[in-house]
Symmetry: C2
Amino acid sequence: MNKKSKSSSALNERQGIADTDLTNSSSIDALKKRRQIQPSADELVKGIISGDITALSRAITLLESSNPSHLEKANGILKACLAYSNPSIRLGITGVPGVGKSTFIEAFGLHLISQGKKVAVLAVDPSSSITKGSILGDKTRMEDLVKSPNAFIRPSPSGSSLGGVARKTRESIILCEAAGFDTIIIETVGVGQSETAVHSMVDFFLLLKLAGAGDELQGIKRGIMEMADAIAINKADGKNMKQAKLAKVEFSRALHLYPAKASGWQPKVRLCSALHNEGIDELWNMIEDFLKFTKKNKWFETHRTEQNKFWLLQTIEDRLKSDFYALPKVKKALEIQLQQIQAGKTTPFAAAEFLLGLQIK
Amino acid sequence: MNKKSKSSSALNERQGIADTDLTNSSSIDALKKRRQIQPSADELVKGIISGDITALSRAITLLESSNPSHLEKANGILKACLAYSNPSIRLGITGVPGVGKSTFIEAFGLHLISQGKKVAVLAVDPSSSITKGSILGDKTRMEDLVKSPNAFIRPSPSGSSLGGVARKTRESIILCEAAGFDTIIIETVGVGQSETAVHSMVDFFLLLKLAGAGDELQGIKRGIMEMADAIAINKADGKNMKQAKLAKVEFSRALHLYPAKASGWQPKVRLCSALHNEGIDELWNMIEDFLKFTKKNKWFETHRTEQNKFWLLQTIEDRLKSDFYALPKVKKALEIQLQQIQAGKTTPFAAAEFLLGLQIK
């Protein structure tokens, strides 16, 4: 502010002294160099099918990359791994923040491992940015599960579009299965859209709930209840027990209002306390019943076929749309056409014809 | 079979005698000629905005035609009519067969006409073939309404795809509004998909139900209850009254389980007997309350804007898809790719890439 006497002003700052280098620059260089030596696709495939978790992680990182050469490599790995995928169970788990999802997945995962299973936990969370926000980002919340050699935990891939995030997660499932993981848990936060994506990649969909105050059914996202194969009411312990039991009755009644599922399975409600490790084994027994039931009536297999077809068509349609709306001519004209519709100067159908015509011109 | 003695065989048939002409061929020619003289687009527009129902019918027939030159003419008419569309109310009415939909629409329509309204009844029924099947095809079921000069009834356009049928119906709405109809009723049978299409072209969605035996909520199609702004329990008369009242309580409870509507409107349940003309006026009063409420909170207008945008994007996306899947190369390769996915030789994503690549080759 006072240009003339800046150095004598009280606002003057002294020249700082640079911090001395606290890190060993030669070891950083060595680390960088090591990172640059990427194993070949063949090496990664061999690693994955021998159960090497580092190879699995690296391959998933390639899948998640936006670099086209990485993607090409990833597709080769994926194709090679398809032949090695083991029969697995894919479980979707959802619930709003605060429901105790991390604690539940830890208790549930450890129970499965105690039963001789190998458990991979993936996440679909389109809201998480590159930096933070992923539910699984904070692995310290699943300390015991992380330590197990039979568990693999991977946070949500980053990405702005749900379609992209979902694709990456769904392909990661295949790699995890090739690496010998027989139980794949896909976690998501209750934001509605991502549930639909997760539902279309799993065999069984579990909704975690809490026994809250007031009307138990308020605030349930549109359609999520309908997707659930089971509702687990978590934190059913101590003082919460009475409310949890009431909630169980309410949810059971609500589930009966929905039309019968294509699987023939009648959704169930169970109580559990992940913190006290209560009800976890009963929940798993119920899922085993579900698997027996749906494998016997052939739904399990036909459902997976349908899911594959769904993802094929979905990917095609997403790409057709994104390619179209990315055309500069279309981008420009879309806004104008919308205004014209608003002003009653054209119909949505005539505007669509006009915009579609821009493709070939 | 016996070539030699065909004429002497017992299987021999005598030469038939041609029927004499029972119709006057010159009057048929005159009729054909008259039909060929189609009024011009301008004449039809003039007719429509002066409220001429014959002109309206003819323009809708052009809209429904698969002949490209008819379609072009129809688009011109549509564009001209947009400027004349009156503020209207668009009501969707659905209910399974047997619920008394025709009787209800007749009683309801006649009540509206007695209030000074002009009522157009259109249908969306993708299952109806060119010949029969449309709910409104049998106009004899709405004899009194048909006779009224203030009513216009049009059966569902034919078409194999719901998208096509929906487009035609939605454009017909605009023509009806230009012809001075201020209350547009869109009727559909409860087949799930067509409800969604109808819901996206109306301001208010009414679900007709019966008080049946047993659990009232069984058999309700996925998602239809959630769309309803009101449920009218029809045939609430005589011996049915007690059951209807019970059903009202059950439906009211069920409606409360759903998340709040964007309109801010709490869906209502009403009893009525279309046959005895009871409860029809109360139902209309409720719809008027809805209109006042949603016009005051601006939802009515924003909702219509959203619907226009929805139809624009929907039309574009339908066309992108149908154009893609109609490519001969894609048709051929799709089946093979699906088989390869099934055999575990490719992933849905790799197959999608492959198929999308066929577009440009």
